[in-house]
């Protein structure tokens, strides 16, 4: 077994994902099967391989890194807030974060 029920609980905690008991068991079994399959990568010796962290090579990405830092108009705040679940313009309201001592 690659992944335990506790592992799934821990991961769900990290991902702020509420899972039912049924989901926990189902995903544990399915993810376990997938991780078992992924284990085949260990057949490969990758000690001296550089990880591929970028897709574009540096010449392809030539100017594709940073654009000039210019102020451009972006008057979308009203529109964005109009579709928010609990807007209090110009803010998003959320449930209380800090409790009074």
């Amino acid at each position: 077994m690659k992944i335990s029920r506790d592992d799934v609980l821990r991961v769900a905690e990290l991902a702020y994902l509420d899972l039912t008991e049924e989901e926990l068991d189902k995903y544990r079994a399915q993810v376990d099967e997938i991780l078992e399959y992924i284990g085949k990568l260990n057949e490969l010796d990758t000690t001296n391989v550089e990880p591929m962290a970028q897709v574009l090579t540096s010449d392809q990405a030539a100017d594709a890194t940073l654009r000039e830092d210019l102020v451009v108009p972006c008057a979308v705040a009203e529109e964005v807030l109009a579709h928010a679940p609990d807007p209090e313009p110009p803010y998003f309201r959320v449930p209380k974060v800090i409790e009074k001592q």
Binding site: D7, V11, L14, L17, Y37, L41, V49, A64, K96
Partner: protein
């Protein structure tokens, strides 16, 4: 009611004033009204925006102004691509009421070229899936193979084009999500190289893999749509400055003598016999057209699925952290911020998305990062290197698009690993950042569409399109 098969036909009819862009859009909406309840290809229609754009095109025609390359062409857009003022759900409950405040660059460029966007198409939730059965808004029927899935994740876009509910459509491809539904629905479909089309406004699944690309009724239309979208966008730092070729101008150049690689790893067990028969016939057709066929090796192919499902889920778990019920989408009630996050995400995401968040978070978590994520990145480098070596000897690579033909709705939903394994021929090109096309290559038993995939070197779109066009013109679809 006018049915236009190609962009060329639309342009000609509109320029000659045989039909107005408004009349054509209205005809497409009539057909959508007649067929969409059965196919479920469209989730949202945007008539007002479409007619406004059609009127602009008609005004240009009346004024004798030059017309854009997509003037009046009715186009469908996958519902993971942002459209200002038009609901964009990613086929997820968590974005059920989301209305983007801006357009994706691809959409802006299509409309600047005169395209009329009809609506937003169904797909697997957050583009995660290979059958469109992971949509929160129901399955899509395959118009080319009734009772079967249309493929995924861009199933709605493929079905819309195949059923003539759009002349062309945009999809997105992360591990095969354009090419495989194109294959299943019997139409050509293409993804350009990573960096060729801006991802600005594409709601992210896996940022190092995601690409926007076209579906159409012929390869020439893919060339037209891709060319309109391609090129540097200051709003996407991974969009490249590599020059955009004139794909359409290259289409009719002779393909005689072009060196094609046939990777032996793609023709092993696991491919359905009926698919093999059609692909073998397709390869023979390319030989008859004068291509120089060579067997090549891509030795790390067998590790591609494992690598892909590490990288893609890791990136997804990170990208999907933004769905927290604060700024958009529905919010689940809770008495604290953290429970609000947890409940909103628990209620808003479907099973496949949750499974991938669990897997992706796990492979990135402390203690497992090196064993899984870093290992995956290293094997990804080996897979990309396989292709680099191969392209030193050949101009393009020919493979099947999918090892299986369209399967029955519901047949595979309960076995995620089996579903993942069927992505084997498409994830490799995704991991390596290469352009790939799926072009119709006959029908298994005369019924189930088969697709032939052509993969090119990075930024070799013109060559890929040229080969696919020659294959199509020589009757590849009727093999």
């Amino acid at each position: 009611m006018a049915t236009m098969n190609t962009i060329g036909e639309v342009r000609e009819a509109i320029a000659a004033k045989k039909i107005s862009a408004r009349e054509l859009a209205a005809d497409y909406y009539k057909r959508i009204a007649a067929r969409n309840s059965e196919l479920n290809a469209y989730l949202t229609l945007c008539e007002e925006r479409a007619y406004r754009q059609a009127d602009r095109v008609d005004a240009s025609v009346a004024a004798g102004k030059p017309l854009g390359p997509l003037a009046g062409v009715p186009i469908a857009v996958k519902d993971v691509i942002s459209t200002r003022g038009i609901r964009t759900t990613c086929s997820s409950k968590i974005l059920t009421n989301y209305v983007p405040p801006y357009d994706a660059t691809a959409v802006t460029r299509l409309e600047a070229a005169g395209a009329v966007i009809l609506g937003k198409t169904n797909c697997d939730e957050f583009a995660m899936g290979s059958s469109n059965e992971n949509s929160a808004y129901g399955n899509v029927q395959n118009p080319a193979a009734p009772g079967c899935v249309p493929g995924g994740s861009s199933g709605g876009s493929a079905a819309a084009v195949a059923a003539h509910l759009a002349v062309a459509a945009l999809g997105t491809d992360t591990g095969g999500s354009i090419r495989q539904p194109g294959s299943f629905c019997g139409i050509p479909a293409m993804m350009g190289s990573y960096g060729r089309v801006s991802r600005y406004g594409l709601i992210a699944f896996a940022s190092s893999l995601d690409r926007i690309g076209p579906f159409g009724h012929n390869v020439a239309d893919l060339a037209t749509v891709l060319k309109v979208m391609a090129g540097r966008d200051p709003n996407d730092s991974t969009s490249t400055t590599a020059p955009v070729e004139d794909y359409s101008a290259e289409l009719d150049k002779p393909i005689k003598g072009i060196k094609l690689g046939i990777p032996k790893e793609y023709f092993g067990p696991g491919m359905a016999a009926g698919v093999r028969e059609k692909i073998d016939a397709g390869v023979q057709l390319l030989r008859k057209l004068g291509c120089d066929l060579r067997e090549i090796e891509l030795p790390h192919t067998d590790y591609a699925i494992a690598t892909y499902y590490i990288i893609a889920t890791a990136e997804a778990s990170s990208n999907l952290a933004r769905y927290d019920g604060v700024r958009f989408g529905p919010r689940a009630e809770a008495d604290s911020l953290i429970s609000m996050y947890r409940n909103t995400r628990g209620a808003g995401f479907g099973p496949e998305v949750k499974r991938r968040i669990v897997l992706g978070t796990y492979v990135l978590s402390a203690g497992y990062y090196d064993a899984y994520y870093l290992k995956g990145q290293k094997v990804r480098a080996l897979i990309a290197e396989d292709f680099r070596k191969a392209f030193a000897h050949v101009d393009a690579i020919v493979t099947p698009t999918s090892p299986v033909p369209p399967f029955k709705l519901g047949e595979r939903v309960d076995d995620p690993l089996q579903m993942y394994l069927a992505d084997i021929y498409t994830v490799t090109g995704s991991l390596a950042g290469l352009p790939g096309i799926s072009v119709p290559c006959g029908k298994m038993g005369g019924k189930l569409p088969v697709g032939l995939q052509i993969i090119g070197p990075a930024f070799g779109e013109a060559r890929v399109l040229q080969l696919a066009h020659a294959f199509e013109q020589a009757g590849g679809a009727n093999l």
